[in-house]
Symmetry: D2
């Protein structure tokens, strides 16, 4: 059994990870770090009662390295970069679900996260946890940076097409996320009576997932990313519009995904929906070629907490520890 | 008192119109046409019980012309074009909330609605019911074609900027609507357990509101329109992305709306939300200029049934009958 | 025109009242009191922008009495009892939508609101604002205590039956409210991702509306009140179970409501639903007699903010000022 | 590996069962029966694509008995009683998630399901699949009748207290369910715009789960069952009110559940919520003793599709096949 710890156990990403570890046949949660130390997980999160007897503790790198084979980080930007260096020094493998080690360019990090990077020496070591693209490096690394949720919903459908995208105009990404993506911090805008029956856009032109998408598309595709939130809990739908170069054969580009266990290529004229990926590790996508305008529109769906965060983190763990990649993840979508 | 009739009383647009007439100080519902003739409105639509004693009747152009000063049509595409000619002949004014008389180009009508237009002789007479732009003609016409709901959410913010839009790339419109926009016909995709917690795109590149937007933007701006539905009942949020020509002064272009009673220009960096327009005749919009990409992103919100359909229809009626344009419509948004 | 002020303008009850005054043909908002003084209503509540130019002010009883014919109080329990005495002294009529003057028994007030009543001398003057039962007294009073929202959903169907209710067992009231009833204060339990797709009970056996219901049922019927909240914004559904005495003729008891403009008696076997009263001043109810068990089950629905608060407050105002009682309130339910 | 088949694969209970089998470490789906035979499960239910290669077939008892060790029935009342006799004759074990074999009294079956029972000879053999109460018989039976979802939400908290319940008045059960409980058949009342933001009661005094609850409470407790549906997808909240006999020690009665893996006794003053059991096999409950009225109010929560149907079916399978009872079911609640 892989012994796993989680730092940031009570946040929404942490909760989902703990839920997934609870049913993983070859991994178990042995340590959980959070501000509310001393309490049991079930006390703080009644949904998890009777599934684990782990108690919340305070952070101690040495102790975690003894207790755990791997530690997952489920923290806001700017916090894991202080905790990962001591963890790595103590010799434990780390899977970071936060953003600190995703961007290779520290200037971008400063611009989008508003602070200097304080552990740039680890950026080379950190492997970007997009399993279908970094499998080999994931198998041998000890530090993984799991991609952002919006980012995965864009990279899976767009990266195979990148050579066929015209650079004359940005790739337009209009994405909508359920509110779990906004986390557990209270905010008037997310008070139930304010957000129910509402839709809103936010951070237009300045969302921190923009440079991450651009980095992983090769650096020369400009992305216009417009995120929204809608009145539901889980799931991202991304509608991606761009101009293809002449002769782009979309279906052929996606043939590389035939063996991917968690990517479902729906085909031309078939559009992804949130309902089919909820509660699963899948990313679904399909597309429409608009001959009138010459644009290609791709629609993708992912569960932001599962496939978009904790599920991909577990998939990376499976690869790092030589397990079957799908272990503990083979859920169909929860519909309804 | 203006005596009003409605054809298609039980559909969602018809219901909203009846609700608005119920509180209009100078208009009253006197006739309602629907398949379920013989029943009272309150029997068929319990929400309206005790607010009206009108009974559903079958269509009879002569009788309607005697009973009514104005008849509202709340029908699917392809049905009002057969009923309006006899009504106009009988001499009654008509406000059509359906699509039959919006497109001036009958080839576009055939392409997007899948049928020949059967009353093209009325297309010249029909005034496009976009009050801020056609006020003078509305004051004297007897036939109004109320614009589509998505269309208004795009035209209000984009039309003042049209001279400043680069023609090198389409205007990208990603819009999301509440489910009331899909009407009352049962469909598996709109069964509550299927649509709750879901988001989906539909009719990409072929939605019938596309040519209507293009027509009213002057005919030489190409629109890439991608509509979605989300898990809520009322309201459209449209996110509109395009490349402005150098020197476009957005705020200045919107000065023309200062006196408009139902358009609220939020300003730069302020984004519209569905919650502020729900249950009202307002269309809100604001924008972000992304200097990095050179694109302008405008976000607008409208209540698809109120401001986007029945409210605009009543506003047109007010103009046609010489009333204060805001009569019966001066609602603030229902938030929460 | 009746000149109206509102104290507590930004809370959800205050907002709804302002929205209703905005379309009332014979009343207008002239003053609004709230902590955020100095700002315009539209700045603080974007939904109301362009519908009023009133600015928020601080409380000043003398000035309010000069500006206004009537002042509405939209405050939490324990705050209006300090502000109403100076307002009454300054001579202005007051309609209190909060709870301070509903309970005639100050011991009950202390027990359920946790504080001594500080203006008991006004309790005799205060008329309970349940229009169908206190019309005559409302016509001449200067101080009204609008009933609680849950309370109205119970009193309308149960009060006419009170002589026919067995005293052997309590009247069981299981009610569910939309989240707008919880107000605008942030709370983890009402954070969107926590409350969406959730239902919860609260304050079982100790909700402050319990003594109010019992008072208005005559004081000798015991009520077991179990309130819940569900994942929606507006509307209360109350399911009321009790044992009728032999021979109770329910339909006959309800004949007294035939002329009531806002009570809709649906009849036996017909059950009220939230969707038909949303956005209206109606209270709907129907019932089932279960012969097997000998129990009667009544189901009622009301919009907690409209019919259950602000709408009833306006109805009281109409009566106090000699207007037609339905003025400004004749909305059908907003469905969908 | 246990080879499992499912009849009624496309209904909501069938889908959930297939999802659960997909991650069960010692069971696998090998056959699926539904009207749409010939298609793959992933074609008909995109949420399940890439998780199974099983194709839908028509019913054939002999073939199923060869392919499967156990067959789950996920059908409406009145259909499984015709299919189970041939399956049992062919020698395969059967777990029926529908209602046909729950009621021991065929007169009750006729009264509540509107038809004669056509396989009464199997009623003795059928073991009621309430695991905590029928474990020993489940271990050796070949036919299980999984309880109704509402029923479990009532029996778990009430059965241990049954000796302490006064018979003077019925046990009042007011329960609310998410819409997945209504199944996939289209109905105007469950069209998204009609049911969103709505709550409604139904089948008051005549719901078919009433006799099932009464049967399992021993036959001499009368139950007044009032079911509701609310605007969400999954989960039942049951609020249960009754008069306890003097001296009832609730906490002590629940001590018998200390070792139950899926029952969480929250304690006095702690109330269950749907959010903590969603996506899990748990039933949570807590209670309030109202000293003023002398009533006890218990609130329980269960996921109608998981803990309330498919999860309990899998738990029964685990017991029948000698596996650890929690195998494949140890999920924490999905919150958010």
């Amino acid at each position: 059994m892989i012994r796993a710890g989680v730092i940031g156990a009570v946040g929404y990403a942490g909760r989902e990870l703990i839920r997934l570890l609870g049913i993983h046949p070859e991994a178990e949660l042995v340590a959980a770090i959070e501000l509310e130390s001393g309490k049991s997980l079930g006390e703080v999160m009644p949904a998890l009662a009777k599934t684990t007897s782990v108690k919340l503790e305070t952070f101690d790198a040495e102790r975690l390295a003894e207790q755990c084979d791997v530690v997952f980080m489920a923290l806001h930007g700017g916090t894991s970069m202080d905790l990962i260096p001591p963890l790595r020094q103590a010799g434990v493998k780390v899977i970071d679900m936060g953003p600190d080690f995703r961007l290779k360019n520290t200037a971008d990090f400063k611009k989008y996260y508003g602070m200097e990077h304080r552990a740039p020496e680890l950026l080379d070591e950190a492997v970007y946890g997009l399993a279908p693209y970094y499998r080999e490096r994931l198998a041998t690394t000890s530090l993984v940076a799991v991609p952002g949720c919006y980012v995965m919903s864009v990279l899976f459908p767009v990266r195979p097409l990148v050579d066929g995208i015209s650079r004359d105009f940005p790739v337009i990404v209009d994405a909508i996320s359920g509110l779990s993506g906004a986390g557990r911090a209270l905010h008037e805008a997310f008070h139930f009576p304010e957000m129910n029956e509402n839709v809103r856009a936010y951070k237009l032109g300045m969302h921190q997932h923009t440079p991450e998408i651009e980095q992983e598309l090769g650096g020369d595709v400009m992305v216009q990313f417009s995120p929204h939130v809608g009145p539901y809990t889980r799931g991202i739908l991304s509608t991606i519009t761009f101009r293809p170069k002449a002769g782009l054969d979309v279906a052929k580009c996606y043939e590389r995904y035939a063996g991917e266990p968690f990517l479902r290529v729906l085909g031309e004229g078939k559009l992804a929906e949130v309902r089919f990926v909820r509660g699963s590790n899948f990313c679904d996508f399909g597309w429409v070629m608009d001959k009138r305008t010459g644009n290609l529109i791709v629609v993708s769906a992912i569960d932001n907490l599962f496939g978009g965060t904790a599920g991909m983190a577990v998939q990376c763990m499976n690869i790092m520890f030589g397990l079957d990649e799908t272990k503990g993840l083979n859920f169909g979508g929860m519909a309804p």
